[in-house]
């Protein structure tokens, strides 16, 4: 039996998923929430970026179910005894993503190799069978290992595999999209052909054309990776021979965890304190303002650095608390989210304070006060729903900034645990390879591509969300 491992951040991520699902169900029944979301889904940029983001989220969720595999028992004679005592588990914590990427994780080469290469990046001295020595580029153990003669066959093999992958991607796309189109056509009482015509000429409110296009692109891309990655190192390998694509994929979860959990942790404080300050004013306002001005005035990086150094001392002096390396690294990730939350809640708190001050002067709230409704009820029934759009906008806006901050913090050395996969750590170790001649560039490119696509999609999406939810920007 496998042994599930419940990391703190895993649980928080699933709490977050539950919150989001709950919110979706809540919003379905409230027209004032549905209207802005409808606007989001009708924007071309909105749906395109949402589809890209959902691929990242899927990877992160797969990577958030952790477990430890049992160790194989040594001999058959001892097996009976051992099963009576207890099972032994590997110290390595795996996730569903690791299983899905099985071959990527295991296929380590000796050292650097370029993307799609079949040979190592550096020459090595090899003993020949006749006793002599020769300096050659040795073949890779896994990359292109199925080829008889790499120098001539590689191009054709790559082309053939890519063509197959594209075909399969399009096939999967057809299989997935036809029922969707059929459903849409039935809803509108149209034939499939006229539905297609409507979509192509963009006569629908939701930009289905973009949905189809982006889905096709994503599926083809995924299939290309799935078809090539088992045979080649798409983004090369790093110094210890680990596949760079695997590292980049594993980093997705770290980035999303920092981008979302930080907000999840700081949100209750920011909302509660902001509304309290704006609603009660007087000395409560003074205290809360003092609190956030003080925290704000400490340079963020320094506060994070100080706190993370403190945590490192604590972890080092209590090694017994953590069963595996993954649990230790996870603790540091969670702590980093918390401390990032502490440094970043002040902006939202200030916004909420100002908005609450405005909202509490509105007539229906004064009426509620005159009727003797308790403050707690006024806050929860009237003020909170009226400032929620600010919370949502700032949550979405903060996300990309936090993903970028992770890279910088890891560079400074106060980011996630060095053993944890993250784009910041990838950049940090690749930076030193810049000086090599010829340059080892692929790890940087991989981190750049993955980060850029995520942050760009998040930025575009947040713009659409802000336009839809900000009443000042709302049209009509």
């Amino acid at each position: 039996m496998i042994k599930p491992v419940f990391l703190w951040t895993d649980m928080l991520i699933f709490v977050l998923v539950a919150v989001v699902i709950g919110f979706v169900f809540y919003a379905r029944h409230h027209e004032h929430l549905r209207a802005p979301w409808r606007q989001v889904f009708r924007s071309r940029i909105g749906v395109a970026s949402l589809l890209v983001l959902s691929v990242y989220v899927l990877i992160a969720l797969l990577d958030s179910v952790h477990f430890r595999l049992p160790l194989e028992t040594q001999t058959s004679g001892q097996q009976v005894q051992q099963s009576q005592q207890q099972d032994y588990y590997s110290v390595e914590v795996l996730s569903l993503l690791d299983l899905a990427l099985g071959s990527l994780r295991d296929q380590s080469e000796k050292t650097y190799s370029a993307p799609l290469a079949t040979e190592l990046f550096a020459r090595e001295t090899v003993e020949l069978t006749d006793g002599g020595q020769q300096r050659i580029y040795p073949r890779l153990q896994y990359g292109g290992a199925h080829l008889e003669n790499p120098s001539t066959d590689r191009g054709a093999d790559l082309l053939q595999r890519s063509v197959v992958a594209v075909m399969i991607g399009l096939l999967v796309w057809l299989v997935l999209m036809t029922p969707l189109l059929w459903l849409l056509a039935r809803q509108r009482g149209l034939t499939l052909a006229s539905m297609l015509d409507n979509i192509l000429h963009q006569r629908e409110a939701v930009p289905w054309f973009i949905v189809l296009l982006v889905t096709a692109l994503l599926l083809v891309l995924i299939m290309l990776v799935a078809w090539l990655a088992p045979y080649y190192h798409l983004f090369g390998t790093d110094k210890v021979g680990q596949d760079v694509l695997y590292q980049a994929l594993k980093s997705v979860r770290t980035a999303l965890a920092i981008g979302t959990l930080t907000t999840l942790i700081m949100l209750p404080f920011a909302v509660l304190l902001g509304i309290l300050a704006g609603y009660f004013r007087g000395w409560i306002d003074d205290v809360i303002q003092y609190l956030y001005t003080t925290l704000n005035s400490i340079p963020g990086v320094l506060l994070i650095a100080a706190a993370v150094l403190m945590l490192q001392v604590y972890i080092d002096s209590h090694p017994a608390l953590f069963a595996t390396d993954a649990e230790r690294a996870d603790m540091r990730l969670l702590f980093l989210c918390m401390i990032l939350g502490i440094t970043s809640w002040t902006g939202l708190c200030r916004l909420l304070r100002g908005e609450t001050m405005k909202v509490r002067e509105v007539e229906y709230i004064q009426a509620a006060t005159a009727f003797g409704v308790r403050s707690s009820r006024i806050i929860s029934r009237h003020i909170l729903p009226n400032v929620m759009h600010i919370v949502l906008i700032s949550v979405v806006l903060d996300f990309s900034g936090l993903v970028l901050a992770e890279a910088v913090l890891s560079y400074v050395g106060v980011g996630v645990d060095p053993s944890m996969h993250s784009w910041g750590n990838m950049i940090n170790s690749a930076r030193l390879e810049m000086a090599r001649e010829p340059m080892v560039w692929w790890a940087l490119v991989a981190a750049f591509v993955f980060m850029f696509v995520l942050v760009l999609a998040a930025n575009l999406f947040s713009d659409v969300v802000r336009d839809a939810f900000d009443p000042r920007l709302r049209k009509g």
């Binding site: 005035s297 400490i298 320094l302 150094l309 950049i427 810049m434 940087l444 575009l460």
Partner: protein, 325 residues
């Protein structure tokens, strides 16, 4: 005005005390001097005697808040809290863990930081305003749409990539600028030009987008319509009227960061090997020199509060509608 400044000055004191409390708690209570000594000495050399010696050499062997062995006033003054935290208020930063004078280092390293930060700020302001003005001029055309998408792309690239890419392109491929290093005096421009350009490009995306919304907000106002009705050209409307009015939020946004320019840019300086305060801070974090980190936290807070004060004052200077109360 003077009374207002003085009052604001007194508001700053409790905030600084708060900052001091937080740093004191973080550095001495959560993490005791013993832990620091163990970390600095390294795992091999940890003996009780060595820890005592390390603490004594740096003055960490005294009680935290109250010294019972002393007489009179020095019961309070001969403590870690007074020596390491209270003295910061007089800008006496003391010595770093490696024995160097922090105050001296800060005074020396301030200049390279400013040599990067001030040109970045000025050039950045110029470029950002120009770009956003152009976007507003071409509003509701495909030029604006493409421009905004480009700005979002610029925003989505981590500063680290700008630095690495810039160093590779200009330093390694084109040999236009040295990859890193610094020189005092007028020759410094050769070393500062690349960091400045990268700093400007790094801030262009978010800056231009923000200024663009400011300009667009102004452009819908009545005085702009009046100006157009007078028959002014669009260029004149934008630069004479819109820019002037939008300058209020832009200027106050600049004023708030002015004092913190001293602190330098953490990653720019450390990547380009510029001996400023930013790289000083990073080196301190990496070598876990808490005395320097503490000093920089305090200095950063002071400068931030100064920035807030300057913002409030500049509001009244540029916008006569704002009255101080």
């Amino acid at each position: 005005m003077l009374a207002y400044i003085i009052r604001r000055f007194f508001y700053a004191i409790p905030i600084l005390i708060g900052v001091n409390m937080i740093t004191f708690a973080l550095f001495f209570v959560v993490n005791t001097p013993d832990d620091m000594a163990r970390m600095q000495l390294g795992a091999k050399h940890v003996t009780p005697a060595a820890i005592e010696k390390w603490k004594q050499a740096r003055g960490y062997d005294r009680p935290l808040l109250y010294n019972e062995q002393q007489q009179g006033l020095s019961r309070v003054t001969d403590t870690i809290f007074f020596d390491k935290s209270v003295r910061l208020f007089a800008f006496q930063f003391g010595e770093a863990d490696n024995g160097r004078h922090i105050g001296h280092d800060i005074r020396e390293r301030m200049w390279p930081s400013l040599a990067i930060a001030i040109p970045t700020l000025l050039l950045g302001l110029l470029v950002t305003i120009t770009v956003s003005m152009l976007l507003v001029f071409f509003r509701a055309t495909y030029i604006e749409f493409t421009g905004v998408i480009l700005l979002v792309m610029l925003m989505s690239i981590s500063t680290l990539f700008y630095i690495i890419g810039g160093q590779y392109l200009f330093g390694k491929l084109l040999h236009l600028a040295p990859i890193s290093g610094y020189q005092d005096g007028w020759d410094a421009w050769r070393f500062t030009i690349l960091p400045v350009i990268i700093g400007v490009i790094g801030g262009l995306g978010s800056g231009s987008r923000w200024y663009r919304t400011l300009f667009l907000e102004e452009i819908g106002k009545d005085y702009v319509r009046t100006a157009r009705a007078k028959g002014l050209t669009e260029m004149r409307v934008l630069f004479r009227h819109v820019l002037r009015n939008a300058m209020i939020p832009i200027l106050t946004g600049v004023v708030v960061v002015l004092p913190t320019l001293f602190m330098g840019s953490l990653i720019l300086e450390s990547f380009f090997g510029i001996p400023g305060l930013g790289s000083y801070t990073i080196d301190a974090i990496r070598s876990q020199d808490f005395a320097i980190v503490r000093a920089m936290v305090f200095l950063g807070s002071v400068l931030y509060i100064l920035g807030l004060l300057l913002t409030d004052i500049s509001y009244t200077l540029v916008d006569p509608r704002v009255r101080l109360s």
